[in-house]
Symmetry: C2
Subunit: 409 residues, 2 copies
C-alpha cells in the first residue's frame, strides 16, 4: 500500500480537538459539557456585519485579488490607526485567518530545517505549521511562577545558532494570557537586530488587554521595520471564527511580495468572509469596550473561582481569553479524559485542553491545562465548581505539597 | 536585512496573473481588454445558493469541524452518486478549494524531495504547491499533435525512480481541455499498482465534458482504492470561484486521517462558503445541462474562429474551458505583453496566459498561449478577431512555415 509521508505521520493530532469524541460521548450520555477547551467565543457575531453581507448583491462570486480586496485592506488601514499602527494597503495580504498567515510567513522566510524560537507554552498549531514547512521549533521556557513573562535575553542567546531565522511570539498570549510590555518588545527588537532575525508576532487578541487600552504591537518598534511581521485575524475580535479572514502585515516589501506569490498559488481569500470583515472592522468604540468588559469580567470570575480550589496554581492573564493552570494531577491528558468519561457534578462536566499539547519540550506541561474563558459568568462558575469537585475525587491526584495556592503577580 | 527563504525566492510569480499590471494600464488608456487569461467564468452564481446563504440565521459564525460541516459532506455524497462515485462522509475533507486540497495531499503523501509525475503542460500552480512542499515535479510531455492525450506507459516508466511517490493528473484538463478516457485511466492504474504510487486527480471540471455525459473519475477504478485521491472544487461548476470550497476524497483512510491533521492545524473551512455550496450542490440536471451547453457552444465558436487564423495550431478540447494554442510567434511572454501594451483593434485587445508558464521543461511552451473561453460568444469572436489582427502586425512573428493550419483529431 502506498505510504503516507513522514511529515504526515509526525504531524500531531490537535491537542485542542482530540478529546472531541469523549466529549461527544459524554453529551450523548446526558451530561452537560462546559467547553473551555477551544477558543470559540459565545459572543454574537456583529449583526451589522452579517446584515451587510446579506444585503450585498452577488451576481458572480469571483476570485478576489490574491492579496485581498482593496476595500478590505483600506478598512484594515483605518482600523490599525486606532492602535497607532501606520501601514498602507500594499503592506498587507489578506489570508485565511492567522493560521494561513503564519504558514505563508514561515514558507516565505525560512528554509527547511531552519529554526524559529518560540516562548513555551505556545499555541499548539505553531508546531503543526512548522512541521508542515519542515522547520524546527526551538522552545524557550516561560514559567507560571513568573506569570509567563518574557524569558531573559541570555536564555534567547543560548538558543540562537546559524540556522535560527526568526522569533515567533503571540501577545496577548494564547495559551497563557500574558502580554508583552513595550519594554519587553524592545528587548526582542535588540536580539533581532543583533542576530538579524525576523520577529513574527501573532496579535489577534489586541483588544482583549486588561491592563491598559490595548496591547502594544511589534509594528510600533522603530528601526526594525524590515524584520517585523505581524499576523492578524478577525476571528476572535468579532466572534467570527468561521469566516476565515486574517492578514499578514509587514513593512518589509520583499516579505510581502514573497508572501503574495504563495497567496497567488492559492488564488484568493474567501469573498463572503471579506465582505463581512470589511463591515465588522468599522465597529464602534462601544462595541470593543463592551466585548472587552465582558471578557475582563469573566477573567476576574475565573481567577476568583480558581483561588477557591486547593492545590491549584495559576497566573494572572493580562489579555486574550485563556490561562494555563497547574493542577495537583499525575497527567494532563489522563485528567482531561477522565473528567469527561468518569466524572460529573450534578450532571455537568468540563472539557479542557491538556497542557502538554502547548509544549514541545518532552514531559513539560503534564500537570497543566489550558482554560478558555469563552462562556458567560454563571457557566464559568459552574464549570469551576466541576473542576473543584473533580479534583477531590480524581484517582490520579498527587499528594505532594505544591507551593503557594496562588501566585499573585 | 533578514533574508527571505530560498523557497520563497524560487516560488514563481503566477503566469496567469503576472500580466495584470499591463492589463490595468491598457484599460486605463481606454482599451477594452477581453480577459481570456484566467478561469473566472462570467456565468451567474446560482441565485438559490446565494439566497440560501442570505436566509441563514447566523448568531455566532463559529469554527466548523476541520473536516467540514457534516451536512455539506452529505450533500457531496449525494452529488457524487450522479457520477457513479460511491463514497461516504468520512472519506472526504472539505478544503479551501482544490488548491488547499492539493497542498494538503502533497504534504500528507510526499516527503521533501520526493517526486510527482505530472503530464505537461499542466496547471501552473501545481509547481507552486510542489515548491512550497519541497517536492520535485517530473514533467512528462503531452503534445498538441496528439491532442495532449496520455503519454505512453513507456514514457512514464522512464521517469519512475526510487523517489517517485505519485502521479498527478487533471481531467478534464486545465490548460489543454483534454479529458482522459476510461482506458487511459486503466493504464494509469496499472502503473500505480506496479510501482506503488498514489494517483492524484484534479476533477473540478467533471461536468464540462463535451464528448459524453461526464468525465470519468479515478474513483471509478477498481482494485486501486488505496492509491486514488480525488481533488474537487465548487469554484468552476457553480461559478463560485470566490467561495473557496473544495474537497479531498479518498477511500484510503490513512490519507484522510493524515489530511485531517493538516486540516485541524488550519482549524476550519469557511462557514459562509460551506452554506452556499451545500445549497449549490442540489442543482437540477437542467442547471448542469444549460451551463455545459453554453461552454460547448463557446468551445465550438472558439475553434471556428481559430480555424480562420493563418499559422495557428490548435487541439480539440474535450472538456473544461481552456485550450492551448500554438502561434507563429517568437516568444509567448513577449507576445502576451505586446498585445496589451502596443496593440489594439478598434479599441479592443486580449489578455492571454503565456504558454511557458504551464511547463517546467526549460524552453517549452514558448510559442503557445492558453485561452480560457469564459466569455460569451460575441465577445469571444471579437477577441479572436483581435488575435488574428494582432498576428498580422506582431513584430516577433516568425516566418518559418508551420505544418497544417489545424490538427483535427
Amino acid at each position: 500500500m502506498a505510504k503516507i509521508s513522514d511529515r504526515g505521520i509526525n504531524m500531531p493530532l490537535s491537542p485542542i480537538r482530540k478529546l472531541s469524541p469523549l466529549a461527544a460521548k459524554a453529551k450523548k450520555e446526558g451530561k452537560f459539557v462546559h467547553q473551555l477547551n477551544i477558543g470559540q467565543p459565545d459572543i454574537p457575531t456583529p449583526e451589522w456585519a452579517i446584515n451587510d453581507l446579506k444585503s450585498t448583491d452577488f451576481k458572480v462570486v469571483e476570485y478576489s485579488p490574491s492579496e485581498g480586496e482593496l476595500s478590505l485592506r483600506e478598512a484594515f488601514v483605518e482600523y490599525y490607526k486606532k492602535y497607532d499602527i501606520e501601514v498602507t494597503t500594499d503592506e498587507m495580504i489578506i489570508t485565511y485567518g492567522a493560521s494561513e498567515a503564519l504558514m505563508i510567513v514561515l514558507l516565505s522566510c525560512l528554509n527547511p530545517w531552519d529554526e524559529v524560537i518560540v516562548p513555551e507554552p505556545f499555541y499548539a498549531n505553531y508546531s503543526s505549521f512548522a512541521g508542515a514547512a519542515d522547520i524546527t521549533v526551538k522552545p524557550i521556557s516561560s514559567s507560571i511562577e513568573s506569570n509567563f513573562a518574557l524569558p531573559s535575553i541570555d536564555e534567547f542567546e543560548k538558543l540562537i545558532g546559524p540556522r535560527t531565522k526568526a522569533i515567533l511570539i503571540c501577545s496577548p498570549n494564547n495559551p497563557t494570557g500574558y502580554t508583552y510590555s513595550k519594554d519587553e518588545l524592545e528587548k526582542l527588537k535588540k536580539i533581532c537586530l543583533k542576530y538579524d532575525l525576523f520577529l513574527i508576532s501573532d496579535e489577534v487578541y489586541r483588544e482583549f488587554y486588561y491592563h491598559g487600552e490595548f496591547a502594544p504591537s511589534i509594528l510600533g518598534l522603530k528601526g526594525v521595520e524590515d524584520k517585523t511581521i505581524m499576523l492578524d485575524s478577525a476571528s476572535k475580535r468579532y466572534s467570527m471564527c468561521g469566516v476565515r479572514v486574517g492578514a499578514i502585515v509587514s513593512k518589509n516589501k520583499e516579505v510581502i511580495q514573497t508572501a503574495l506569490k504563495f497567496g497567488q498559488a492559492r488564488l484568493s481569500p474567501p469573498q463572503f468572509g471579506q465582505v463581512a470583515v470589511e463591515s465588522a472592522l468599522k465597529a464602534s468604540d462601544t462595541y470593543y469596550r463592551e466585548v472587552k468588559e465582558e471578557y475582563k469580567k469573566r477573567k476576574d470570575v475565573l481567577i476568583e473561582e480558581l483561588s477557591k480550589i486547593e492545590g491549584v496554581k495559576y497566573s494572572h492573564p493580562y489579555g486574550a481569553f485563556y490561562t494555563v493552570v497547574e493542577l495537583p494531577i499525575d497527567d494532563d491528558e489522563k485528567f482531561c479524559s477522565w473528567i469527561l468519561t468518569d466524572f460529573d457534578f450534578e450532571g455537568e462536566t468540563v472539557m479542557f485542553a491538556p497542557g502538554s499539547g502547548f509544549y514541545v519540550t518532552p514531559g513539560a506541561g503534564k500537570r497543566e491545562i489550558r482554560i478558555a474563558y469563552v462562556v458567560e459568568e454563571e457557566k464559568l462558575r459552574r464549570a469551576m465548581k466541576c473542576l473543584r469537585e473533580a479534583l477531590k475525587v480524581y484517582p490520579g491526584r498527587i499528594s505532594e505539597q505544591l507551593p503557594e495556592n496562588a501566585t499573585s503577580i
